[in-house]
């Protein structure tokens, strides 16, 4: 299979500038849309090449072409110096390429082990599974990752970050010489990300070449040796990571300057205003236990916490998506106990869910139907009729207001890039006119430019009097909040005013290493 690779071949390894992968002049059209145009990249063994670019720049498309999931219109691929053609994923596997794709690609009903074994055992004894050796291999991989996901638990019962670990584990089940990772850390906390970095170090030490895609630019500069930047499907340039800083990299990516996330400079402190939502002792075993918080009108309240601390579950309780075990909630002074998201939205509470593709969008529908989904019922229209013309008009306004980049409001959302999809999900709930908008990880996988635009939307909403509850694992972006609460093991353990919500402080609160302070 992959015996004759550069790794085993000392003559190749010792040559002056060996490359393990070259993609030359790759172009790709979708329908009429030019996703990639004459893009070339070069990867050397034992090095990390970062691909950077805004949402829709074509990073994933390039990787998917390499993986055999898409076919390029033009262009050549060389692996270890020899030209190859990759028509299907199994071709890529045979060439020693391994992938973590941007969208989680696991079988929910399979156990972690089954997922890791998928496609790994091609040759088995006459097609019979060798369960024992697969398990041994999986344990080895987990040891290497330093993260034990229970192998016999179904993936659908695992938390999101654990699923990513399974996905990472799968890519290491085979002895690959090239590994491409498409936003592997998007759902990771800092700690988990650190763990990934050390795995990357280990792999590169073994001579594996790594393609690394991320919107976390700080991370890119830390991990990568080389950086290739794409914009609108075209190559902007390739740089040595050492020559870049965040500002210059951002400039390359978006082609203009982008301001840093700034603390919100409010003239009046919203926290002194009237309370909108009061939550006392909210419990739903085992994820949420005795959680209490207060949210004021027009306030942006951040929720920090580690993965599995129960933030998503808390948000789901607030909109009635799951039944509450115990506790009280009041909204605007009146008791509030929604039994379904319908009742929550009617009361003016909406949740922008964590996983946009599976929970937020109908991928095969158009931009306009997706935008209208949470506000189908026209206020004052007793008949319950629906006017597509009105929906299109509202969608057009929303597309302009939120800066959504789509060919038209009739475009299928499945074809849009991640950042634009996320803006549509946010926009959908904003159009429902909530007085309280909950956002669960709103900027995961969103590029630096679009991220700023989403912050703008959030700030504008708050300024107009909407209260915001923002769940985020990216503690830097919590800077836009007025206050931040910290959740640990299902409870709110601390409340931190904006000025003191530094990354380090929040992280230590999350781990419980800092004493809880009176809020």
């Amino acid at each position: 299979m992959t015996d004759a690779t550069a790794l085993d071949d000392p003559t190749v390894a010792s040559s002056p500038s060996p490359t393990c992968l070259e993609m030359i002049g790759v172009s790709k059209q979708f329908g009429g849309h030019q996703a990639l145009e004459d893009v070339s990249i070069t990867l050397s063994p034992g090095r990390v090449l970062a691909l950077c670019g805004a949402n829709g720049a074509g990073k994933s498309t390039l990787v998917r072409i390499l993986a055999g999931a898409e076919s390029a219109d033009t262009g050549t691929i060389r692996v270890h110096g020899s030209e190859v053609s990759i028509h299907a994923p199994q071709d890529a596997t045979r060439l020693g390429l391994s992938f973590i794709h941007q969208e989680l690609n696991l079988v929910p009903k399979f156990t972690a082990l089954q997922n890791m074994a998928m496609g790994a055992d091609r040759t088995g004894r006459g097609g019979v599974l060798d369960l024992r050796s697969l398990r041994r291999k999986a344990l080895q991989v987990q040891e290497r990752i330093g993260y034990q996901v229970p192998l016999d638990v179904k993936v659908e019962d695992l938390a999101v970050s654990e699923r990513w670990m399974v996905s990472l584990g799968r890519s290491l089940m085979r002895d690959a010489t090239i590994v491409a990772m498409d936003e592997p850390t998007a759902s990771f906390t800092r700690e988990e990300a650190e763990r990934l970095y050390s795995i990357i170090d280990e792999l590169t030490a073994d001579g594996v070449g790594i393609i690394y895609i991320s919107h976390r630019l700080e991370e890119v500069l830390q991990v990568a040796d080389d950086v290739t930047v794409l914009r609108n499907g075209r190559l902007v340039g390739s740089f040595a990571a050492a020559d870049l800083d965040i500002a210059s990299l951002t400039h390359h990516i978006v082609g203009r300057e982008v301001a840093q996330v700034a603390h919100r400079a409010g003239e009046v402190d919203p926290a002194s205003g009237p309370a909108l939502l009061e939550v006392r002792g909210l419990t739903r075993e085992p994820r949420v236990r005795d959680a209490s918080l207060t949210l004021h009108r027009g306030e942006i309240l951040g929720v920090a916490g580690l993965v599995g601390s129960g933030r998503t579950e808390l948000a789901r309780l607030l909109i009635g998506a799951d039944p509450v075990g115990a506790g009280t909630m009041t909204l605007d002074g009146a008791p509030y106990r929604p039994r379904s998201p319908f009742e929550a939205i009617k009361a003016g509470v909406a949740l922008v869910p964590e996983e946009r593709r599976s929970q937020g969008l109908i991928l095969r529908n158009t931009v306009s139907t997706n935008l209208g989904m949470a506000s189908l019922r026209e206020p004052g229209n007793k008949l319950g009729t629906y006017s597509p013309r009105r929906a299109v008009r509202i969608a057009r306004e929303a597309v302009a207001r939120f800066g959504i980049k789509a060919n038209s409001v009739h475009e299928t959302v499945g074809e849009l890039s991640g950042g634009n999809q996320q803006k549509i999900v946010v926009g959908k709930y904003v159009l429902a006119g909530p007085q309280l908008l909950i956002l669960d990880e709103p900027t995961v996988g969103v590029d630096v430019g679009a991220r700023g635009e989403i912050y703008d939307i959030i700030r504008d909403l708050a300024a107009a009097g909407t209260s915001i509850l923002m769940i985020s694992s990216d503690f830097e972006e919590l800077a836009i909040c007025d206050r931040v609460v910290v959740m640990r093991e299902g409870s709110i353990v601390a409340t931190v005013p904006a000025a003191r919500a530094t990354k380090d402080h929040l992280t230590s609160l999350c781990f419980g290493t800092t004493e809880q302070e009176p809020s």
Binding site: G31, P341, G449
Partner: protein
């Protein structure tokens, strides 16, 4: 806000011609198959097939299937299945006729009764699916079987005839402007159902639930309720077909409507390839039913052997859907 994407209009223009042709085929492939069928048969049987009378005749023959299939479309749009529709049609015919015989109720009352039966079975289907959380295929297969049981309990399994079916038979035999009533019913119902699906909040909600139930739920759509409504509409249409079938012959039998089940599925799936890419819609289902009727009519007029009939019908189904699917795949690749 500065936009850095390319101007979309300039991008679209670069699309290759072959992609556009394939796209056209993808959209109109199923209609093309219908067109070829019509033209072919017209050439073979110019005097009998290509006449106004035969045209009306085909529409008339399509009406009952169309009504039940358009109802089924609602269940399919919502992402569910309904295997009970054939049994509901049978039940409706038998119950209405036996009530007309025994209680001497009028035609309007019988129609109301049919709607009530359909709505009831649909409601039960919906509740079993949403409250008991049973897969729709099992639930409707089970409820359909129960409906057969009720049917036997009502009529004991023997066919029921109306002693004086005059007025009742007129329901399907009567004509207005030379066009049989069922044709009006079919188009009228199609218009109503189209409106419900495309121009009401309920219909939009159904499409959303079918597209992604989780997203729909989180967007404040009452998913379970919408599902129940879809089953109810499906049941009502099935029951209407049942009573119209009874009217055609003035009698009703325990398994009279059963054959509509697979026919309706075939039509709806055929229809999902008409103008759309695998989405169920009322208009498509209507075209599907009419295509099947044209095919059957063509076979009967040309006078093919039994085995040809089946071969032809099977191929028609696969071709009608396949041409479009294949073309769409090509268009995506081009």
């Amino acid at each position: 806000m500065s936009t850095v994407t390319l101007d979309p209009t300039s991008v679209v223009a670069t699309r290759p011609a072959s992609a556009r042709i394939w796209k056209w085929f993808g959209r109109y492939g199923a209609l093309l198959v219908l067109g070829v069928l019509v033209v072919g048969t017209s050439l073979l049987e110019p005097t009998t097939f290509a006449t106004y009378d035969n045209f009306i005749n085909i529409l008339n023959q399509s009406a009952l299937s169309a009504i039940i299939a358009m109802g089924l479309t609602f269940a399919l749009v919502t992402g569910e299945f309904d295997l009970s529709i054939g049994n509901v049609a049978s039940l409706s015919g038998v119950v209405c006729l036996s009530t007309m015989v025994n209680q001497d109720i009028g035609i309007v009352a019988a129609l109301v009764l049919a709607v009530a039966i359909g709505a009831l079975v649909g409601l039960v289907n919906g509740l079993v699916v949403t409250l008991l959380n049973v897969n729709a295929l099992v639930a409707t297969l089970g409820i359909g079987t129960v409906a057969v049981g009720v049917n036997y309990a009502v009529a004991g399994g023997t066919p029921i005839g109306l002693p004086d079916p005059g007025g009742f038979i007129q329901l399907t035999l009567g004509r207005f402007l030379g066009i049989p009533y069922p044709v009006f019913m079919m188009f009228g119902l199609a218009a109503i159902l189209w409106f419900i699906l495309n121009r009401t909040v309920l219909g939009q909600s159904m499409q959303a639930v079918g597209g992604n139930p989780v997203a729909a739920q989180l967007s404040g759509i009452r998913v379970d309720r919408v599902r129940v409504f879809a089953f109810v509409i499906c049941g009502i249409c099935a029951a209407l077909t049942g009573i119209l079938l009874a009217s055609r012959t003035g009698s009703a039998a325990v398994s009279g409507g059963d054959s509509y089940l697979l026919a309706a599925f075939a039509a709806a799936f055929f229809g999902s390839a008409v103008l759309r890419d695998g989405e169920f819609h009322v208009l498509g289902t209507l075209v599907g039913v009419i295509t099947v009727s044209v095919g059957f009519n063509a076979i009967a007029l040309i006078g093919l052997e039994t085995y040809w009939q089946y071969l032809f019908q099977g191929l028609l189904l696969i071709l009608g859907v396949g041409v479009g699917s294949l073309a769409r795949r090509r268009a995506a690749a081009a």
